[in-house]
Amino acid sequence: MTNVYVMEKIPEKIIIPLKQHDGCLCTPLVSKGDMVSMGQKIGDCDCYDSASVHSSVCGEVISIEEAANPNGTKVNSVIIQPTEDVECVDLTPVKDVSASKLVDVIKGAGIVEHYGTPTHKVLRPEGKQIDTVLINATSSEWIGGHYDTSAQYASQMIDALKLLMKAAGASKGAVVLRNDDLESINAFDHLRVDGKLLTVAPLMGKRKLSYYFKDMGSDIIVVSQERIYGQKILDLLTYNLTGRRVSFCCDPTDVGVAICGVKSAKALYDAVHEGRPYIETVVSVSGKVNSPKKILVKIGTPFKDVIDACGGYMGETGKLIANGAVTGVAQYTDDVPVTKMTTSITVLSADEVIRDVSIDCTHCARCADVCPVDLIPSRITAFADQGRFDECRQMNILNCVECGRCSAVCPSKIHLLQLIRYAKNSIENAYEDLSSKESPANLKLGCGCSGGN
């Protein structure tokens, strides 16, 4: 079991953005000069497309202002100066609640997936029915919380999965592990669920989850698969696991699949069993810091203090990256807070900063060899560079998971990922105002998903 350290030192100030998800901005419930206690709700929104925000410390609100956010923009944030005393709001566990009440609990506890969608929106999307809930534990940042033993991790995950299924009204659920992550596989193996022994099944060949549900005669299963990573892996993951294709402009909920992360599962478990809102998260700090580790921090802690807790910067620092060196966002300041969407912090030294100059593509096909979704990145990029987005779309650019492997292996140092994102954004923008141009009847034709069937 990887050790997760707990950050003991309380930072000088805590910056809590009022928007830690993709959706509406919350309105602050406190004003400057107010005293807040730990777990107190400080931001809320009536809109379904949002999640509440809570104070992670006890202290005084010193201002509410636009502050830097790890996604590169500025977001209205509540800035709190912590005080010494640890006063916490009363935490009441919510056991045995109905499914619809559970959704309110999730929204009230401010649980958000690490890819940005609020969890209640994933489980109960408006106008769609979920039948399968997946907990994706395949990413490298799989440790979502602080556990004593790996068996505890496994049993909590299964409990959380049951809660997620209940909230979504889904009949089937699965935990997805990584093939080479033996620690978790051993933890889940031989675990008892409802009196039945659990076995971790590796996904083989073209077999999908439905086969394993039938094979094991169980509605809750644990499977393992190859590691896949990238910014937009949800569609590929859905296809790999269930065999359902997600069409353009749709997400996995359109085909009845809800994908949750380990972190949100753990947060839900805590919210139900302890009544605690989502106020702390585990981030893995790596790269050029004196003692890289996985550390449990309060949401809103500035990166600066997290890095100090990991022994500070080592040598001359070149880049500070949130969420992984391959696809993450480089930060211009270390005053950005850890949010619900932060999974890792990477520090690169000054001489690791890449300053290559692109040359012409030599068609060496290294990008095509590493692409996990069988694209020809070199050709797509050439089209994207010329603004020929329709041709990009014909070449399945929308399948791209944005893993960045093509850019990493390119000997000509072409900015493939950047160009592909540019083309994808342009295509999505072109479709943004489609509904006003086209009649709804025509719009349906473009979408192959049938709302959960």
Partner: protein, 309 residues
């Protein structure tokens, strides 16, 4: 504290075009040394003249057109070296110089520089020289690998590329292992050539030659003149093999390699355009057929385990 910001990915592999080119030049050095042993000092003169002409042409063209001068990336050096290696070493020195001027000037830059040329400049130069000065370009002897030792040192070799099949194979294997050249084309090409030659009854001692191995590993894998798609590269390898055997069977495998590869270059982009991969999860033709046959099987329930739903 100041931080650099840029778009992801923030970590890349430490590989550049320059590195690949110089690695190829370095990989061919043992063969050049062996050919100096076999052909004597004129071989060095040939290589030097050829590389000099290649670099000078590239610099002159890029200077004239106001482009960035890229002789340091090693591509011109590689073209010069490879042209020298497929010319008989007894020729007067103006032959390799004209050859490389043609290779770099017409073969490479007239088509738009690295990544844009349709025909491998080395092959274009060889073809040009052979057509223009056929009598001078005819090698003194055509080799035959009669003993096992000839795989290491081919005594009857007519050109520098043919002196040692084994050393070229080793050099290529190292490059493939380091992923500097890719494996699909060489494997498909070599298997097709040997299989077809065997079926046609050609003695393998005329097929497994240094020049053929050189063509398989160094000319056919030239990235700009070969397809990008995975299936396309396998098909391209097979096409190369067929064309080389067609020429080789009726003439000899030394000239056959060059003519066959030159013709294969013509169809490379055609293959590329017709083998674009489908979206993931799309069934291929064979899978569709298999599924339609299996769905008609009466005892389907029992097969279900194999059918994965």
């Amino acid at each position: 504290m100041t931080f650099t910001i840029s778009a992801p990915p923030h970590k890349k592999e430490n590989i550049t075009f320059k590195k690949i080119m110089w690695a190829k030049v370095l990989a061919l050095m043992p063969v050049v040394l062996l050919s100096v042993y076999l052909f004597g000092l004129p071989a060095i003169g040939l290589v030097a003249a050829s590389i000099f002409a290649a670099i000078a042409t590239e610099a002159a063209i890029q200077k004239a057109f106001g482009q960035k001068i890229t002789i340091a990336d090693g591509h011109a050096v590689l073209i010069g070296l490879m042209v020298a290696m497929i010319i008989p070493p007894e020729v007067p020195l103006w032959i390799p110089m004209i050859g490389t001027v043609f290779a770099v000037g017409i073969g490479k830059h007239a088509f738009g520089g690295i990544g844009s040329y349709v025909f491998n400049p080395v092959l274009a130069a060889w073809l040009f020289l052979s057509l223009a000065w056929g009598s001078i370009m005819a090698p003194a002897s055509y080799p035959q690998t009669s003993a096992l030792f000839e795989l290491v040192l081919e005594n009857g070799a007519g050109v520098m590329a043919g002196v040692s099949p084994l050393f070229i194979l080793l050099a290529g294997a190292v490059l493939i292992f380091r992923r500097y050249i890719e494996w699909r084309i060489p494997v498909a090409f070599f298997v097709t050539t040997v299989l077809l030659a065997f079926l046609l009854g050609d003695s393998l001692s005329y097929v497994v030659l240094g020049v053929v191995v050189f063509g398989v590993l160094f000319i056919a894998t030239d990235t700009s003149t070969s397809p990008t798609t995975k299936n396309g590269r396998v098909i391209y390898g097979i096409v190369c093999g067929v064309l080389v055997v067609v020429y080789g069977h009726f003439a000899n495998y030394v000239d056959g390699t060059f003519y066959g590869l030159f013709l294969a270059n013509c169809v490379a982009s055609l293959i590329d355009n017709n083998t674009l991969p489908a979206s993931y999860g799309t069934e291929t033709f064979l899978q569709r057929k298999y599924r339609s046959i299996v769905s008609k099987v009466p005892f389907k329930d029992r097969l279900e385990v194999f059918l994965d739903d």
